[in-house]
Symmetry: C2
Subunit: 202 residues, 2 copies
Amino acid sequence: MRRKRDAQAEAETRKDAPLRSDAQRNRERILEVALAELTRSADAPLSAIAKKAGVGQGTFYRNFPNREALVLEVYRYEVQQVADTAAQLLATRAPDRALREWMDRLAQYAMAKAGLADAMRRATCSRGSLAGLGHAPLTSAITLLLAANEEAGTVRPGVTPDDFLLAIAGLWQIDPHSDWQARAARLLDLVMDGLRAGARQR
Amino acid sequence: MRRKRDAQAEAETRKDAPLRSDAQRNRERILEVALAELTRSADAPLSAIAKKAGVGQGTFYRNFPNREALVLEVYRYEVQQVADTAAQLLATRAPDRALREWMDRLAQYAMAKAGLADAMRRATCSRGSLAGLGHAPLTSAITLLLAANEEAGTVRPGVTPDDFLLAIAGLWQIDPHSDWQARAARLLDLVMDGLRAGARQR
DNA sequence: TTGCTAAGCGGACAGGTGTCCGCTAGGTTC
DNA sequence: GAACCTAGCGGACACCTGTCCGCTTAGCAA
């Protein structure tokens, strides 16, 4: 086996392990069930998801150490899409309008997918900063938008994705019921103004 | 008894019930123990606190329906003090400097008292908006600061305490370990700039 | 005092999260 | 195919939160 491993690919020795076939199947079944259950009720018991997926608690928690890991993974595809929107928006609009519209979409998405905001919040804060796991796409989208705006002189220089995520943290606190639209708009307006302050262009 | 109640005070019929003596004692013992335990470890089990206080689960949860209710109450005195600072700062500084310094103190306090930021976060977000329970003092402090600044023309008109709390929500996400100072400062600078934008004075 | 009454007590219990560990079976080698 | 060996399984378990409900007792009236 040692020889086989060596031959195959040194790179995969540590991460992205090849995963045994049954493990792969289990993981996918869990995600499948989780999408259904979480859509139905954002705080569906993890144990119920495990049971419906036909796996033990141990298996479940080995794949997803906690709730937000699961949620982030379940919605990964969708999050990826939101992130991708950044580039499209930048191509068709002025940088500052693109940034603002992207934030609106992010808000809309976070409100739509119950439980996602929660996961985002936890992931954003808990460990250090944005060291989050499924954050990479979001972070790069933000970097893209900020860079474009900085260059256009519509956002003060030196704003990091971390700054940005902290600034919009209020989003994850808004209750998806009630009139989140108004509250989110006011928050995002304020953040935009904050970002603009100190920019070359005024 | 009915007659006695009527005679005593109609106002207290609903809220601020007079509380039976043993109830009073229990509540105080719980708070006492909670302060000690929470200082030691922010996520001390509530059940342990109840036990150390010598009360049953039921008694405990009747007094404090959940963790943040307890934390908010434990730190109420301290929170009150922070809130009070607002007036003092306004008396000795320009409104905008007072606002900024107050935010700094709030941040410092939130970072110092482990577990408080958590409670603030939950209280801020979960139910509706700032409908929070122990928020009243903070809210009025914020109102005070915003009004002074609006009048001085150093903050755009029409900002509500709710807006403000959402804007600084990032604070509660910062990890009290690591270098919170830098991250908080950057966030608060950004928020201040956002608040300033659109003000009369520039 | 004595008796009454409901406010308050407190422990058992239901339900959820996350961990641990002995066993199973997938993949590989011969 | 047989044998091995370990990645992965899965359920029992430990611990926590929050609820429920029969019992206790503080406070009042006579």
